[in-house]
Amino acid sequence: MQLTLWTYEGPPHIGAMRIATAMDGLHYVLHAPQGDTYADLLFTMIERRNARPPVTYTTFQARDLGGDTAELFKTAAADAYARFKPKAMIVGASCTAELIQDDPGGLAKALALPIPVIPLELPSYQKKENWGAAETFYQIVRGLAQPRRGAEVNPRSCNILGPTALGFRHRDDLAEIVKLLEGMGIAVNVVAPLDATPDDIRRIPDAAFNVVLYPETAETAGRWLERNFKQPMTSVVPIGVSATRDFIAQVAKLAGLDADAALKAGGSRLPWYSRSVDSTYLTGKRVFIFGDATHAMAAARIAREELGFEVVGLGTYSREFARPVREAAQKLGLEALITDDYLEVEAKVAELQPELVLGTQMERHIAKKLGFPCAVISAPVHVQDFPARYSPQMGFEGANVIFDSWVHPLMMGLEEHLLHMFRNDFEFNDKAAASHLGHGAAKPAAAPANSTPPAQGGWAPEAEKELQKVPFFVRGKARRNTERFATERGINLITIETLYDAKAHYSR
């Protein structure tokens, strides 16, 4: 039994819904009690979908438990077929239905519907949403994929696997990658599951190779296709400039193309923006990164190699991908944080005192609470993660988007210099209100310093006075660092000396 205040992932049948909702002509009959229909609102409200997810819930109640819940399932499945006329159906159970063991797969088979019916076994008390999505997609591919029709395969053809409903920027990533592949002269055979029909799934083996955009949802299916249809798959996820370049090289090799043309044609503003002098202040900014495995690992590489940050923490809630994340962290000299308990993440952020947090919506809340800048890099999704504008994370345009969205929460370089130069100016301090708000404006409430002063003594008056000369936006950090420094060394009274000793210590 696990105490959970908030969860990064839903149960595995939500993953199955993300696949079903992404596709056309597929219907999901879910054996589930009343109330599980809440899941529809994830799609209609968060993603603003204009149609209900193609899901029929059996909606059993307590009074049905003594009776025939199996019959209820059969009626629901037969009615769903009659009403929606899907081209294929997936059937399964949510957590409660799993306990009553009605065997939706067997019951649906007994109905002898004239369409493929794919049973799902998604252990709710063991697995979670992303696993459920990957398993569902794999079962659908396995159930529907047909052997290649022609003997000839176009070597410059691929499928794009992974984008789902309710995915973090999947819509725009897909557009970006399709453009990139087509620009290289590669034909996209099938995109799945997003907007794919069961017939499209049948045609997947016609392509020469697979682009696995999101390993969390498509790696299982990709590996199966690799084994059974000799379709190799990509292993690089094109998030960031270097990763996009590596992706192009990998795809070019798989398609038997020369990568040079594509590498020359495509470009991102990120490299120049990062080299421009204004970005000097980004050097060594301490960042904490947490998200799904794919986005967290990509973020770590971008942060280090493309923005010159220092990664001080890296973690994921995707236990299935704990190993690669641990390896990535190890390369950075870190120990990866593998957890689905946000309180643990919060404690880590508080301990590390980063200058930027890259995380999920939950880390955004954590960062806000602790007073750190933050950018969102990963699911779980929020209505804000479906912006009206084109906003991919992948490809060269994705790198541009990432540069902007990570750098904007930070104090801009020139601004930081000005603050240093004018910090003693009478209008330029924490007590003065922003000039554009007029003289009557109250100053924003300062975040309470989360400080643990040394057991006795505390700050000497002259040290406290010196601290006030530190620019207000880093004063809290200077105070915390100095106090930590003093506590660790058993210094009872913080003097000016201690303040500068601590400064020297932390600027190593």
């Binding site: 009690p33 009343q34 529809d40 029929t56 306990l99």
Partner: protein, 427 residues
């Protein structure tokens, strides 16, 4: 200004035909009530004993990644618990101990049953008694079920309040608290009601639930009670068992509903008409004034209610009687006839009331009826908007203060705003 001050018409067509349906239900389960109950009882914690689905439901329904640290959580049952590899009682005790250590501010803990806990027959009543003993007197541990197999949406509040009733204090020396109001109200409405009751001479009025665990209202045999919400079947039964006496009344929505509700109290206590008038007339007039512009926009418009909170029938009464709207179909997840007698009686003749749901068939009826406004849950709203319907999310009618005179205009605006928006948009 002297606006007509109508008494509710008695009798009416209480024999309205009811369509009963079963099939897929597009409603929340009772766990959802935690979203407002934890805001209402400020030192209570709600621990759902359930699955990851339960945790996901509550965080999705609350629409948030919760602010500071929420006063609700889920003890997620895992395969070890199910396989009997771990002693489930000991596991629960461990989780509760950890929780209470972390939150020393908690005075009342609800163990909330879920579908999985019901199916595996986890005895939360026994667990609550055991844990209460361990943590008493600091923390009182209670239990109720919010499971979807037993409750829809607001029935979770009913189950919670019913669990609270036996623990309400019995006053010493034979004192009988005169009046209790049952049903979670927004604090602002509760304070307004308290003032109006005081103006009528009823200064000792208890509200269930109270805002803190230590101030739950006293109940004695002979205490009379008014229901502020229409979904409190089990709570009413628990109050009856304590010897409390129900005052039949309409529900305090809109000017007429609120006056009818107060009138039921004054009738029960033999308070004069003039005292009732003095205490309520100004509010009644303000409410009608506030509703006037909305009435202009809404009169004659046809409205269709999908089942959600059991507030549908009082709301249909409100929109028809006070805003001049025409209810086409009024769906309710569960029809509590006894408590709704006065409301049903005031629905226009020919209104179709449906109980339960087969969402596909109901959508067919809605499309055929082409109402001007559809009141429905979050799963249906955007799809219906995309089909060209104007919708109002029903959940807002539960989360927003809507009871009483001063909120009548706000309540009316919840119905008019979607239509208003349609007329403004040029894209």
């Amino acid at each position: 200004m002297n606006l007509p001050f109508r008494a509710p018409s008695s009798g009416g067509c209480n024999d309205i035909p009811i369509l009963r349906e079963r099939g897929q239900r597009e409603v929340f389960c009772g766990l959802t009530g935690i979203v407002w109950l934890h805001r209402k009882i400020q030192d209570a914690f709600f621990l759902v004993v359930g699955s990851r689905t339960c945790a996901h439901l509550i965080q999705s329904a609350a629409g948030v990644m919760i602010f500071a640290e929420p006063r609700f959580a889920t003890a997620i049952i895992d395969e070890r618990d199910l396989a009997g590899l771990s002693e489930i009682d000991a596991e629960l005790d461990r989780v509760v101990n950890r929780l209470l250590e972390r939150r020393p501010d908690i005075k009342m803990l609800f163990l909330v049953g879920s579908c999985p806990s019901e199916v595996i027959k986890l005895d939360l009543k026994r667990a609550a008694a055991r844990l209460s003993q361990t943590h008493s007197p600091k923390v009182r541990v209670l239990n109720y079920s919010g499971s979807g197999i037993e409750t829809t949406f607001t029935q979770g509040e009913d189950a919670c309040l019913a669990a609270l009733v036996p623990f309400s204090p019995l006053p010493a020396n034979g004192y009988v608290p005169p009046l209790l109001v049952a049903g979670a109200l927004s604090d602002v409405a509760e304070d307004q009601f308290r003032r109006i009751f005081a103006d009528m001479g009823l200064s000792d009025v208890g509200f269930l639930p109270a805002r803190t665990a230590g101030t739950m209202p006293a109940i004695a045999p002979g205490t009379r009670y008014l229901l502020a919400q229409p979904f409190l079947n089990d709570t009413a039964r628990a109050l009856d068992e304590r010897g409390a006496i129900h005052i039949p009344a309409p529900f305090p929505l809109g000017a007429e509903g609120t006056t009818g509700w107060f009138r039921a109290a004054t009738d029960a206590f033999g308070i004069s008409e003039s005292k009732l008038r003095a205490a309520t007339e100004a509010g009644h007039i303000r409410a009608r004034l506030a509703m006037e512009p909305q009435r202009e926009m809404l009169a004659g418009k046809r409205i269709f209610f999908f089942p959600d909170s059991q507030l549908e029938i009082p709301l249909a009464r409100f929109v028809s009687q006070e805003l001049g709207m025409e209810p086409v179909e009024v769906g309710t997840p569960y029809l509590q006839r006894a408590h709704l007698a006065q409301e049903i009686g005031q629905l226009p003749a020919g209104t179709m009331v449906s109980e339960g749901q087969d969402v596909e068939k109901q959508l067919d009826r809605c499309r055929a009826a082409k109402p001007d406004l559809v009141v429905c849950g979050l799963g249906l709203a955007n799809p219906l908007e995309a089909e060209g319907f104007t919708t109002k999310w029903s959940i807002e009618l539960v989360f927003t203060p809507i009871h009483g005179y001063e909120q009548a205009g706000d309540l009316a605006r919840l119905f008019s705003r979607p239509l208003d928006r349609r007329t403004r948009l040029g894209v």
